[in-house]
């Protein structure tokens, strides 16, 4: 069930109240049952079978790896476990794509919601057990909950066994402050998703659906809007996931840390989809870099390129994702080559460590990321090229397409008013920026501990804002399809 839905609005408090009432030794069982019910609500029974298959195979392989004494047997078992998981992932993710092109293949209607995320978790677990970083989990129920825990089931974060399993084994109800902070985080996530991300969609979708109708300025606006949309969409989901987990006393990995303020692409990847970038760093990049260590910086660059090409493929079997991953791989590979000369070049160009340099680096990084987003968002590689070619038509005779875009916004919006939609968007972004500038964690803690008469009007305004200006009928989170 999607997070911003009436069903989830009833589901989450019900599970929370049951969690408070149930005996400590049964808490994991309650959360496992709730997680399976949550997954079953997607109305795709095959997904429960896939989850069961991944859970049982990874549990079995993990146990066998832990019991094996011969290192070569351990490696073989680990490879076997990884292959089983990758095979499941490939069938669920790529079979429907192949079946679209080849009618004899079954599985055109397969859905793979959540599979990519818990398969990566399972692979990380097997590798960690093999490297003796983690002991194999003996309790099947705890292990099943580690993979299926509903707040992170559909879109991550991709949790390590060492971080999550100990928390799931000692589940404790949150304190009052923690519960309030969790609710705040859920509301913030909802705001990011239904007020900002889905409103930005009004600007993005019509342009990418009909690229030829718009000239450079409109296309540029749509590309910037998409960069924000996908961030708010995913960060909104993550906030809701982290908030929900906190209600059960579980701390999940924050996935974002103001990524568009990064001053370089490596810094961007330390701030964007953090759990995923850590995963590919540890389980893809590092082994490759180790293999190619003799080639030094070139080996590192090659490892980065391959890692990010594979990360593009993980997002989907399309040329756009591959180019998106390839571009990020190239950026990172180039940064490895550039790094030894960076200080010298800055000195030669007279660029001191001032604010101007930081701003310039942020602007450049943001635009490099936006360039890659074009391939990520466009319907095909051809469409992506058309967007990029169109961006150069800034002042030619072609109409900018503002009228067309305004009409499309009017048609697709709840208000039927372009002015209202843009005003709400502007106010929302301003609120977010003000929150970032002024609301330190300490101030937030003080606010959440303030008397009810002070907090209540704020809660009322927040709820009314969400009710009046939120889009609750929009498609699911963008990242859920990966």
């Amino acid at each position: 069930m999607p997070f911003p839905s009436l069903r989830y609005l009833l589901f989450l408090p019900t599970v929370f109240l049951l969690f408070l009432g149930v005996a400590e030794r049964h808490r994991w069982l309650l959360l496992l049952a709730a997680s399976l019910a949550f997954y079953a609500a997607l109305d795709a029974p095959v997904l429960l079978l896939v989850l069961a298959a991944v859970t049982l195979s990874s549990y079995g392989f993990g146990w066998a790896i832990g019991a094996a004494t011969d290192p070569r047997r351990c490696r073989r078992l680990t490879a076997g476990g990884i292959l089983v998981n990758l095979a499941i992932l490939a069938v669920m993710k790529y079979l429907p794509v192949l079946a679209q092109h080849w009618e004899r293949l079954p599985g055109r209607t397969l859905v793979s919601v959540g599979v990519s995320y818990y398969v990566l978790q399972a692979i990380a677990y097997l590798v960690d057990v093999d490297l003796e970083l983690e002991p194999p989990e003996r309790h099947l129920g705890h292990f099943a909950l580690y993979l299926a825990f509903f707040p992170k089931l559909l879109q991550g974060p991709i949790e390590r066994a060492g971080d999550l399993l100990p928390q799931l084994k000692a589940l404790r109800p949150p304190g009052r402050d923690q519960a309030r902070a969790a609710l705040f985080q859920i509301v913030r996530g909802l705001f990011l998703k239904v007020v900002l991300a889905d409103r930005l969609r009004l600007l993005v979708d019509p342009v990418f659906a009909q690229v030829g109708a718009y000239a450079g300025p409109t296309l540029a606006l749509a590309v910037y809007a998409f960069a924000l949309q996908i961030y708010f969409d995913f960060a909104g989901y993550t906030d809701m996931a982290l908030g929900a987990a906190r209600l059960f006393g579980v701390r999940l990995t924050p996935n974002f840390d103001a990524p568009y303020l990064a001053r370089s692409i490596p810094a961007f990847w330390r701030r964007w989809h953090i759990s995923f970038s850590r995963w590919i760093l540890d389980y893809l990049f590092k082994p490759l870099q180790f293999q190619w260590r003799d080639a030094r910086a070139w080996g590192t660059s090659a490892a980065l390129l391959v890692t990010f090409l594979l990360s593009g493929l993980w997002h989907g079997a399309s040329g756009g994702f591959l180019v998106w991953g390839g571009l990020h791989g190239l950026y990172l590979a180039a940064s490895v080559q550039y790094r030894p000369y960076q200080a010298r070049w800055h000195q030669a160009l007279g660029l001191g460590e001032g604010r101007l340099l930081a701003v310039g680096q942020r602007v450049l990084t943001f635009h490099l990321v936006c360039l890659a987003w074009v391939f990520f968002r466009a319907a095909s590689l051809g469409e992506a090229w058309r967007v990029l070619a169109g961006l150069t038509h800034m002042t030619t005779g072609r109409a900018a397409g503002w009228d067309t875009l305004a009409t499309r916004i009017r048609e697709a919006s709840e208000s039927g008013s372009v002015v209202q939609e843009l005003a709400v968007l502007g106010a929302g972004l301003a609120l977010l920026a003000a929150g970032r500038a002024f609301a330190s964690p300490e101030r937030l803690r003080r606010f959440l501990a303030a008397p009810a008469w002070l907090r209540f009007p704020c809660y009322y305004l927040a709820v009314m804002g969400l009710v009046l200006f939120g889009y609750f009928s929009r498609p699911a989170f963008a990242y859920v399809r990966f």
Binding site: P174, R176, D177, A179, E411, E414, F456, Y460, V467
Partner: protein
């Protein structure tokens, strides 16, 4: 040391949440959220309609800030209309039967199909509208029976949507519904029993909560009033057989149960396809079946595709509002014109 969540704390939190919901409810009542009439069940005809003994006037609103507001009025016969329908009218009756499109609550009172058609036809007919939200083809048949027995119309106009045919079939094993549904086996259509609607207190309160009405109507999904969109694949043999059988049964009953009445089917146009400049094979298939079966029983078909496509090509104006697939004022004008022209062609009275 974190303060634990106790029962007393939870009770206080629940009270605050309830207060917050009350404040939101109050705000939405002031906005105001869309309002609708009370539903009642007429046991004589096993028919759902509106309760004229309760609230008879109100506003339906649309948009997140209730920007578009239309007035409705439930007449003494239980239908949305500015005037009552005397059963023994001096002029012949033209009865409009259908779902929310015919009901016309998305237009101001008197600006829906009934009002526009009455103005177009002048003194020749009394136009009465018997639209009820979410009525499917099977329920249209039920409404038509009531109309025949009470008002003896000279012309019966039934608004038909090609996606509304298969939805008349009740799922196997499904409990009886408050409206007429069909049970279907290949070559065999039966009418399922109708379960009387007994309004319960809880349902009444729920229906009248502004919060519920706001989310259901004002924040409706784009095209929420649309019948289930037709899949783009053509109908397979079995589906086509079911479609034909249901049309055959319904149209035959309409002919047999309305002797001396001209039955006219107003077939809505595939508007999304008109805007997109394409037409799906399934749409063509469904419309061909409707025409063929209607022709078999001598029912007139007023196809809105031609007039709407021509008007859209001419001025690019759409026939539904931005976020609601119901006909807008332009759509209603096209429909009224098309029906009036068809009535003129009958050269009656």
């Amino acid at each position: 040391m974190a303060q634990p969540i106790t029962g007393a704390y939870l009770r206080a939190a629940a009270a605050k949440a309830a207060l917050l919901i009350c404040l939101v409810e109050l705000t939405l009542r002031l906005l105001p959220a869309s309002d609708g009439p009370y539903t009642t069940f007429d046991p004589r005809f096993a028919l759902l309609k509106y309760d004229s003994r309760k609230q008879t006037d109100g506003y339906q609103t649309a948009g997140n800030l209730a920007q578009r507001r239309t007035r409705w009025h439930v007449n003494r016969q239980g239908w949305n209309s500015p005037y009552d329908y005397p059963p023994e009218a001096r002029k012949p009756v033209l009865a409009l039967v259908g779902n929310s499109y015919v009901e016309g609550m998305t237009q101001d009172l008197g600006q829906g199909l009934e009002g526009l058609l009455q103005r177009r036809l002048g003194d020749r007919y009394n136009c009465y509208s018997f639209g009820f939200s979410s009525a499917r083809l099977s329920q249209d048949l039920n409404i038509a029976r009531y109309v025949h027995q009470v008002f003896h119309p000279r012309i019966l106009v039934l608004a038909l949507f090609d996606t509304d045919v298969l939805s008349s079939v009740a799922a196997p094993g499904a409990p009886a519904q408050h409206t007429l549904a069909f049970r279907y086996a290949p070559g065999q259509v039966q009418e399922a029993p109708i379960r009387p609607f007994v309004p319960r207190w809880g349902i009444r309160v729920f229906e009248k909560l502004a919060l519920v009405r706001y989310f259901a109507v004002n924040k409706q999904q784009p095209f929420a009033g649309d019948p289930v969109p037709a899949p783009d694949r053509p109908m397979q043999a079995e589906e086509q057989q079911a479609y034909t059988d249901i049309l055959d049964y319904t149209f035959r009953r309409l002919r047999d149960e309305h002797p001396g009445t001209t039955v006219m089917l107003v077939l809505d146009a595939p508007r999304r396809e008109i805007y997109a400049g394409t037409i799906q094979p399934r749409t063509l298939q469904a419309r061909a079946l409707i025409r063929a079966v209607a022709g078999r029983y001598g029912l007139q078909v007023v196809d809105l595709y031609g007039p709407m496509a021509a008007r859209y090509r001419a001025n690019g104006v759409k026939f539904n509002s931005d976020t609601d697939y119901h006909w807008n004022s332009c759509g209603f004008r096209v429909v009224a014109d098309a029906v009036a022209e068809a009535v003129d062609r009958l050269q009656e009275p």
